[in-house]
Every structure is written in C-alpha cells, then in structure tokens.
Symmetry: C2
Subunit: 202 residues, 2 copies
Amino acid sequence: MKIITIGREFGSGGRELGKRLADALNIPCYDKEILHEVAKIHGVETEYIDQISQAEISIVYPTTIGGTLYSPIYYNKDVIDNLVTEQEVIRKLAEKGDCVFVGRSADVILKDMNPFNIFVYASEESKLNRCLKRTSSNETKKEILKEMKKIDKARANNRHLITDSKWADKSTYHLCINTTNIEIKDIIPSLVNYIESWFNSK
Amino acid sequence: MKIITIGREFGSGGRELGKRLADALNIPCYDKEILHEVAKIHGVETEYIDQISQAEISIVYPTTIGGTLYSPIYYNKDVIDNLVTEQEVIRKLAEKGDCVFVGRSADVILKDMNPFNIFVYASEESKLNRCLKRTSSNETKKEILKEMKKIDKARANNRHLITDSKWADKSTYHLCINTTNIEIKDIIPSLVNYIESWFNSK
C-alpha cells in the first residue's frame, strides 16, 4: 500500500503539490473531502468543521507542583469530536487503497501504515505571492500574513492534540520541499520517481 | 552553472549522497579536498585543520547592560584563519564549474551563485547504525553518540561564525532528505532528476 501524506505551511502550494502528485500517480487525493465527510457524519455544514479546525485552541499545559497536577487541560468539545471523527474518516479512506492526504496530520494517524510523509514550505515572500495570486478578496498583504500565521498556528496546535511530534519539524517527515521560486508542476515527475524509489527501498 | 551543496547531520550518509550524486552527474565532489587545500596553504597537516574545524568553539555572545557592550566575543585565531582560507578555496573550486560541495557551509559562501542546497538527516538510531557499520575502532554506542553530538554542535557553531541562518534549519535549504532506513544509492536517479528540474524551473 502506498500512502503519501503532505503537511504544509499555508501558502506554500502543498495542496497543489498533493493534487498534482495524485494525478501523476493516478490515485485519489483527499483534502477538503475529509471535511465534507466529517460534516456529513455530524450533520453540520463543511464550513463549520473548517472553522473549528482553524480556530485558535487554548491548550493549557499541565504543570506539576510537588508532584500534584496543577492546571487542568481545557479544550473545546467540538474540536475534539471533530478530531476523532476525522481520524476515523482518514483511516477508512486509507484502507481503500493508495492515495494522497493533504493536511489533517494524516502522517500521525496512519503511522502504522508506513506512509511517505512530505512537508512543503517556502519563504514568507513566496507564500505571500502565492496567496495574492489566488485570493479574490481585497485583503492587504498585512491581513494575509496575519491569516497565514493564524492558520499555521492552528495546524501546529491541532497536531499537538494527537502527538508529541512537532508540526513542521523535519525529523517527522521523509522529505521536506522548499517551493520558493519554483513551479510545482516542474518537480512532479522527479518527485514521483523519488517516492517510488523510497517505497522500493524499504 | 550548477552548484549543489550538502549540509548533513553526522552519520546521516550526507557524504555518500554527495559522492554518488556527483558521480551520477559526472561532476567533481569536494569534501576532504577542501581541507587538504587549506592545509597546503597554511603549511600544516590536514588532520590539524580537521581538528580545528571540529573543535568546540566557545562563542560568547555580546550582551548589553544599560546599552554598554558587556562581554566581548572570544574566538580562536586559527579557527578564523582557517574559515577565511576555506572560503577562498571553496570559491575558487566553484568557479571551475559544476560541482558538489559536502559541508563547510558552502551554501552560505556561494549564495550569490544560487546553489541548490540539500540537507541530509536521519533518526538517531539510523545514524548510529551507519556509524557502527563504518567504524573500525572499538567505540561504544555511547561514545559514538557523544562524538555525533559534538561534531554536529561544532558544525552549527562554525556556521554561526559566518551567517545568521541556522545550521539544519529547513528554511535555509531547498530540499531536506531523511535517510532513515533507506539505501542512499536507490534515491540518486530521482534526486538527479529533481535537481535538474529545479535548475530548469528557475
């Protein structure tokens, strides 16, 4: 079974990379599909699930004083419910066969299935340019940068709810790709070969 | 001009990757050659230069109290002399034509020549196994791990003498490759393609 997961900084082109990779390999790419499925199960709108997963989560880390648990961990019940369902959805999709997952910490959730884990990143300037190209609103650069940081922070926090391994920390991934100043479509054929060699090398 | 630089954690197989990559591209790979050249210029043994570049450098960061510089920066004159000569040697080699550099912060030194910068890393267990395979001495695992940490620390410190960009920080590199549990030779053909696409995409 060949499962590929993609973690990515907001604006780095990770989603495009995932879709193009899946197309080249002729396998499905799961991205927003996961949210649709979770929304359907909970009987809510996809937008609500999307909002929840991007919300700022206040995690109060437990500290011990003299061996006694001092602060409890607070969490938003909807966030946790969503995460649990998400994990079930991701696992069911993975069991169908070879595929690409974009985001949702699929690398952690599917660890026992030995996926190939990619992290996509880029310089702030490059990410900003990518966002400016695709945005239809009148957001200023400053607003986009703020949004970018907020979303990446939410991704890191969401990951932290299910694992100790840090979001964006290269040791967690098999390959980290810097997309600054490159056309993603140009690297797809060699990336496909790299991934195939990696799976054959195991 | 296609220049490829390789930063690497000790034991990750970065040197092997550099040599194999250079062979596949039919271009020279500079590694210990840089040290030989520096040693020749200073009229000392290569081993001395090697020792210097791996020595623990105490960098005392300047701190200010009430706006006054409090602590000076101490450094070892031989270390700095070596670094300066190294930079000259690296630049001369790069100007000869396409090549691969392993280590010595060549990515920083040759920044204006737009090299493709790779960072090679692996899990501690994988690095330890690689070291155990190639070592002829009777070093224990504990000793190798200590040596591994010492050398990586020296690499980080040496880099810090010439740039603010952090050693091993993925944002500095174009591609970060995790060599845990893979045979390096297996990924070379696709890596060659990836690098060629990257240079064509610029």
